[in-house]
């Protein structure tokens, strides 16, 4: 380990002010602090600091994503050939999913470094999360160049152009997914895309539930061969990381215990979803729309709702940034998600659009919370 430190120390002067490689200082900072915690000491009060930093925070999100990722790899193989056995399925899955992740990290990383060098700021660890989130929301067989296009759009337009890390309005991973979804719909929706095997076509549970007008959605889902437990475990067709509610819940538990994700957003999302779904259930008998009859539990385990509310909606930058605002923001996303699933069956997977809508409303929600805070302060001042 000493040797690595020595190499880093030897090349450091080149990256400092006046050095040959000064322009690439962000790269050096990235590599240097990746291997060694920065050696800076405090120069002003407070003289002691908490051990928390951005690397630790972001790596915790990555760890929270791992159960869903590993399960997604297995499920990718399982959907292609259910009888192949665990190891074979895992191998198929790894071979299919790993390239997606690599492309996402490499192409996205290049953009990240380019912007860091040009705009002279350090490379932010948040990218590690974005780069992993995107492939987990895609169908396993998607062409790699589309992943490259998507992550490029997400990083450049979704993040850097709209303010850069910490200021972006929309969740960059979702912007990337939305770009692919609308630009290349043939590879992102419809029954054939969800399985690696060409001859297999499988409707996702959500697509099955909305397939026949006037029918009972729950019946349609079980008719398509999806049991409640299959959907909860995630052994159904869908995006790479989004099918297993169980694995996502494990990640959610870690995010909540470490308080990296705000519980109010998740709770709000579930409340909004349950309330809207119950409302839909009440209207269901009067309508031909099969999706209206889907109970909240089905909404929870089907499609990407769990993944979206746990990992996408909770991005602290694009979400509301006040506690009251986080509740409203969460409820709104849950509400939109069911609304889109039920009313607009062209986009039967509603969570992506509902989180993006939530992102769009977040600054406005915060604005009202801020006005409340200011008004409350005025009242307290007047009372004295």
């Amino acid at each position: 380990m000493r040797r690595l430190r020595n190499i880093l120390d030897r090349i450091e002067p080149g990256f400092q002010e006046g050095g040959r490689w000064n322009r690439f200082a962000p790269l050096y900072e990235m590599v240097d602090t990746l291997f060694y915690v920065p050696g800076t000491a405090t120069s002003v009060a407070p003289h002691v600091r908490d051990a928390v930093d951005m690397k630790r925070s972001m790596i915790t999100v990555i760890i929270a994503l791992l159960p869903a990722l590993f399960f997604g790899m297995y499920n990718t193989g399982y959907q292609a050939s259910p009888e192949a056995g665990f190891l074979q399925n895992m191998q198929t899955g790894v071979l299919a999913v790993l390239p997606l992740i690599l492309v996402s990290y490499i192409v996205g990383g290049l953009w990240e470094v380019l912007f860091a060098v040009v705009r002279r700021h350090d490379i932010n660890e948040g990218f590690l999360v974005t780069g992993l989130l995107l492939p987990m929301t895609l169908p396993p067989g998607i062409p790699l160049w589309m992943v490259a296009m998507g992550i490029s759009f997400g990083i450049v337009i979704g993040k850097e152009v709209t303010g850069g890390t910490g200021y972006n309005i929309f969740n960059p991973a979702l912007v990337a997914r939305a770009f692919i979804f609308f630009a290349y719909p043939g590879q992102m929706s419809g029954d054939p895309v969800w399985s690696l095997a060409d001859e297999l076509t499988a409707a996702t549970p959500l697509a099955a539930a909305s397939s026949v007008q006037g029918a009972d959605a729950v019946g349609l889902v079980s008719g398509a061969g999806y049991s409640m437990s299959d959907m909860f475990l995630g052994l159904v067709p869908g995006s790479v990381g989004g099918t297993s509610t169980l694995a996502i819940l494990a990640g959610a538990a870690l995010l909540l215990v470490t308080r990296i994700a705000n519980w109010r957003i998740m709770a709000g999302g579930v409340v909004g979803m349950v309330a809207t779904a119950l409302l839909a259930n009440m209207i269901a008998p009067a309508s031909q729309n099969s999706m209206l009859s889907l109970t909240p539990l089905y909404h929870l385990v089907m499609g990407g709702f769990a993944f979206g509310i746990v990992f996408m909606a909770t991005d602290p930058v694009s979400a509301s940034q006040t506690n009251a605002g986080r509740w409203i923001y969460g409820v709104l996303i849950g509400f939109f998600c069911v609304l889109i699933r039920v009313l607009n069956q062209a986009f039967v997977e509603g969570i992506m659009l509902s989180v993006l809508l939530g992102n769009a409303f977040a600054p406005m929600i915060d604005y009202f919370v801020l006005q409340q805070n200011i008004a409350k302060r005025k009242r307290a001042y007047a009372k004295q």
Binding site: P38, A45, M54, R259
Partner: protein
């Protein structure tokens, strides 16, 4: 008396807690006055090198209030006046005589203090050099003698790491405390708010007169005066002034009026994992840190801090303890670079967050030193800074408005209620390693100058 219960905050489990044993620092051969301790006043010299001064004799005065004196904490010869750039006075060194001779001030008994007029009190305080013990919010400056504040705050439940225990201080020396409070009441004619802990037991605290008594509980910064002001009499605008002072300075004011002499001593704590004897010490105002630690031992590679570790200032051994400081913290300097720190389980990483295993043991065994533990990044609002600020202030938005230098918005978001010391824990817990206290300080300085 209602108890105001605060939940947000964090009591730092810092190693090297001072024990309740009182020692005297003895006599030193020289004292120093640091004009930089006094915020918001422009100071002019009244002495030159070689002059002899008595204890309580004026050394400096305020340019804007020529009757506001800053006086000598000892008797002796002015041996050196160190000035810096643009003739700013950095330090005044006084070589002490063997014995003290005191400047004579008016003496009163307890009954006559109760009926003293505001004018007489003000005159004596300004002349004696104890006026600067009274500070003013917003902006934490030396109190402006021309105004009448809306209230006076005395916080007697410090929660800062190593802060001297109020009950213990009063057990050691309770002279002057009640008289000091009466003086403050007569000086301003406005309510004097005394804030005590819920478990305060000293009879003087529970049967005190001439004050409005409040009790607070909660983790640090629940004991900070800024938090008390926020919950009792929030500052509405830049002209809405509140005065505040420490419990020991109240006692010193009382002693000044009871004895007619400038009181030079106070009790401080010495604590931290890098110092051998952690205890309470009686020291003289202006004593150098080296003299305070003369009979003590501390590691070579340690940082001396005048004040607590969250808000204090780095000082050399030959520099004096700050005028307002009642803590001397000695903590290890460290700039180690652990390999792949972000992946370690973190049993030895002190953290308020739940990101390290040390949290399961309540940070026991996790020491704190001067390391930053990370690189500076942009704001990512995880919510940790909000979790240690027991005020109805939205820190993330306030910080953004300060960075944007938007005075209107800063005012709306309550900048006048803020002080860097109340945001120290926000800097401590921030994952982006932003200097939040410093940003608040910049914001306050900006509105002070341009508002």
């Amino acid at each position: 008396m209602d108890v105001i219960r605060l939940k947000k905050g964090h009591d730092l489990a810092l190693q090297g807690q001072p024990e309740k044993q009182l020692f005297s620092a003895g006599r030193s051969t020289l004292l120093k006055i640091r004009p930089a301790d006094f915020r918001g006043v422009k100071l002019k010299l009244m002495v030159k090198e070689g002059d002899h001064v008595r204890t309580g004799a004026p050394v400096l005065y305020s340019k804007t209030h020529p009757d506001l004196f800053f006086t000598s904490p000892g008797s002796g010869r002015i041996s050196r006046i160190v000035s810096g750039e643009r003739r700013v006075i950095n330090e005044i060194v006084i070589d002490l005589d063997k014995t003290d001779s005191f400047e004579a001030f008016e003496r009163f008994n307890e009954q006559s203090i109760a009926s003293l007029s505001s004018e007489r009190i003000k005159g004596q305080l300004l002349r004696s050099g104890l006026w600067p013990a009274i500070r003013q919010r917003p902006f934490s400056t030396v109190a402006n003698p021309d105004i009448v504040p809306k209230a006076v705050f005395v916080s007697a439940m410090p929660t800062a790491p190593f802060a001297p225990d109020t009950d213990y201080l009063l057990e050691q020396d309770d002279r002057g405390f009640q008289s000091g409070l009466s003086v403050l009441k007569n000086l301003t004619g406005r309510p004097v708010h005394l804030v005590i802990g819920r478990n305060a037991s000293h009879p003087l605290l529970t049967s005190v007169k001439d004050v409005v008594l409040h009790a607070f509980t909660g983790p640090h910064p629940a004991g900070n005066v800024g938090i008390h002001i926020h919950h009792i009499a929030p500052i509405r605008n830049r002209d809405d002034s509140v005065w505040y002072l420490s419990l020991q300075d109240v006692s010193r004011i009382g002693k000044l009026f009871l004895t007619g002499k400038y009181p030079v001593e106070k009790i401080i704590t010495v604590g931290g994992s890098s110092v051998e004897k952690r205890l309470y010490m009686k020291v003289r105002q202006g004593m150098m840190l080296g003299d305070i630690l003369r009979d003590n031992r501390y590691d070579e590679n340690s940082r001396l801090i005048s004040g607590d570790v969250l808000t204090g200032e780095i000082r050399m051994p030959e520099e004096p303890l700050g005028f307002y400081h009642e803590i001397l913290s000695v903590i290890p300097e460290n700039s180690d670079r652990p390999f792949i720190g972000w992946l370690r389980p973190g049993l030895r990483n002190y953290s308020v967050s739940n990101l390290f295993l040390s949290r399961l043991l309540n940070n026991r065994g996790a020491g704190l030193d001067t390391r930053m533990h990370g690189s500076p990044r942009v704001i990512i609002p995880f919510g940790n800074i909000e979790s240690v600020l027991p005020m109805d202030i939205l820190p993330t938005f306030l910080i953004k408005m300060i960075i944007a230098r938007d005075i209107d918005e800063m005012e709306k978001l309550g900048i006048y209620e803020c002080d860097p010391e109340d945001f120290a824990l926000c800097s401590f817990v921030d994952a982006s390693k932003m200097e939040i206290s410093e940003i608040i300080r910049e914001g306050l300085e900006y509105v002070e100058k341009n508002g």
